[in-house]
Amino acid sequence: MTDDTTAAEATDDRVPVTVLTGFLGSGKTTLLNRILTEQHGLRIAVIENEYGEVGIDDALVLDAEEEIFEMNNGCICCTVRGDLIRILGALMRRRDKFDRILIETTGLADPAPVAQTFFMDDEIASELRLDAIVTLVDAAHVLPHLDEVKPEGVENEAVEQIAFADRIVLNKTDLVDEATIEQVVSRIRAINTPVEIIPTAHAAVELERVLDVGAFDLDRVLADDPKFLTDTDHQHDLSVTSVGLDVEGEVDGDRINEWLGGLLRTRGADIFRSKGILAVAGSDQQYVFQGVHMLLLAEGGREWRDAETRRNRLVFIGRNLDRDELERGFADCLMTAKVAV
């Protein structure tokens, strides 16, 4: 972990990139068209999977065929999207600059390589920042997709896309009754507890709720997330869940680094997203992290306020998470644990 990016983060003028995922029929194209036609005065570039779906003056629409590349760096789940590296690289060399970039992925695409591309490629990271993963969900049809039992080793893409999301646009709420909406929301929360859910019809979502929201901005991790630590004990039957920890006290910097590093190294394939704010002993600053699989961004956050209780809040979203194991592992990092050992 490094904490040397604080200064750079203060004046972040990198172009925000939104990743838009969702199954066919969830309303992605409607949302994309809305974003491109609304009078927002922004220059937007769209990278999408098929030509000709959208085509609007003033916007550049580029075609991408998904190419997933493994990285030879010993990180088993570390893959990047070669097509995006290429397209974004060419986009960055153009004289006309874009205010926003949108990457549309198909309903079958794995969001991880898309997100990891922004962690792994320095050239891209120098000019572009991953802003948020926005997943469109069709309220009327998502439940059967989530319940679908896949063969061993095959991902349920609908579950994965919800697990990765920073924002969920729950679309087509006009087509279902209240009870179904509640059921869908509860299923989404069971997978991804802290995610912000935006119910809507006809993909009519306010753009500022999905574009340039700073979901990967470490300063904003948890800042607007009251549901972050909802207890998830009753969802052990689901294979993809969230585990939130909220523990008072201070952690030992070395031990937390070792634990978190080891956890992501060994369990990173199963842990889709992780984020947290930590109180590290001896530091007046919060320590903030945000991860996708094994890759982690971490840095010093704001200073603790005088009367504020030093506490640690973390969330892991992933497959086969063991709350007890995570609680125990974290407890060993607490300063008080030193006395007990």
């Binding site: 030879n72 060399r93 320095d122």
Partner: protein
């Protein structure tokens, strides 16, 4: 900086109306590709525009034929060929990503999606390779144009003329971004997304990985003698010595002038003179024989462009052409072919 900053002897300066991404020089011509798609052909002596073409969807590379009679421009949506004799432009809007082109013996190999296509100088296809594992990232000729090396994900593959399937495959799991082949065809090197250089001895595929670069290696090239391989991938340029049994077990020379390297070009000749450019607009000139392995050396001299360096190309040993991001193209004259 300790090095001397010298005003260069400018032959001419020309403005183009786009952000240049690539330069190519041959004979008495210079070709420039612009990011948004336009390309220009300039007279090397005067800087005057003698030809223009454009690609829809942007340009990535301009490649002049060695006889200066043709230009290939490749881009995200296809490629185009310009013919000097009558200015004719043949465009192939394939909708496929064309990253690079390479000329040999009156023919041009063009990367086109997952294929490499070999065309005659008028754009007629002579033959094509079978599909690679991913979009082709670079093409280079070996054996005077009789063998074509094609880089894509997972391997560099060599094809004999008119043979779709490769005659030699050099596998390495990773995304190969750029190719360099030593002038004697002994070494095939690729710069990689995983921040390494991979090296094969072409004869037997014996391989070597130079890992530990902080960033991906997307530019690399041999000098005319084939002794030196220069590469980016770090703030310092690395220069590997391929003399004798090759670079195995050796340390590279480190050339320190830039924060972010955006261009490198060997001066034609046998003196080990190199030009490099940085995102900050600095052009640095190096004599790589000055240094020792592992030691950091400073440029012989540097000069500044009006904006970040977009591309560099030598038009013979005495003229260095520079392109800045703001569209200014300049030809700098070096009076002494043995001095920088």
């Amino acid at each position: 900086m300790n090095a001397t900053i010298t005003a260069t002897d400018s032959l001419w300066r020309q403005e183009v109306d786009d952000a240049p991404v690539s330069l190519s020089a041959a004979g008495d011509l210079v070709a420039i590709a612009g990011a948004a798609g336009p390309a220009w052909v300039l007279d090397l002596g005067t800087g005057e525009v003698v030809g223009e073409l454009a690609l829809d969807g942007g340009s990535l590379r301009a490649s002049l034929s060695p006889d200066a009679q043709h230009v290939a421009v490749t881009g995200p949506g296809g490629y185009a060929l310009w013919r000097r004799s009558d200015g004719r432009v043949v465009t192939a809007a394939t909708g496929l990503w064309s990253q690079a082109a390479a000329w040999a013996d009156g023919r041009v190999a063009v990367a086109s999606g997952r294929y490499a296509r070999v065309l005659d100088a008028d754009g007629n296809e002579l033959w094509a390779t079978e599909a690679a594992a991913s979009t082709v990232t670079d093409v280079k000729w070996l054996r005077g144009g009789r063998r074509l090396a094609v880089a894509a994900y997972g391997a560099v593959r060599c094809h004999e003329r008119h043979q779709a399937s490769p005659v030699a495959t050099y596998p390495y799991v990773g995304s190969h971004l750029a190719l360099a082949v030593s002038p004697n065809d002994r070494w095939i090197c690729s710069g990689n997304q995983d921040a390494s250089i991979h090296i094969w001895r072409s004869r037997d595929g014996d391989e070597l990985t130079m890992a530990g670069y902080p960033e991906k290696v997307s530019r690399l090239g041999f000098d005319d003698t084939g002794r030196w391989l220069a590469a980016d991938g770090a703030p310092d340029l690395t220069v590997w010595d391929f003399s004798g049994k090759g670079p195995n077990g050796t340390a590279p020379r480190l050339l320190n002038a830039h924060e972010t390297i955006t261009a490198l070009a060997w001066r034609p000749g046998t003196l080990g003179h190199l030009a490099s450019g940085g995102a900050d607009g600095t052009v640095a000139l190096w004599r790589v024989t000055n240094g020792r392995p592992e030691a950091r050396q400073r440029p012989v001299r540097t000069f500044e462009l009006s904006d970040g360096v977009a591309a560099l190309a030598w038009a013979g040993p005495q003229v260095l052409v520079t392109a800045a991001r703001d569209g200014s193209i300049e030809a700098h004259r070096l009076p002494d072919r043995n001095q920088l």
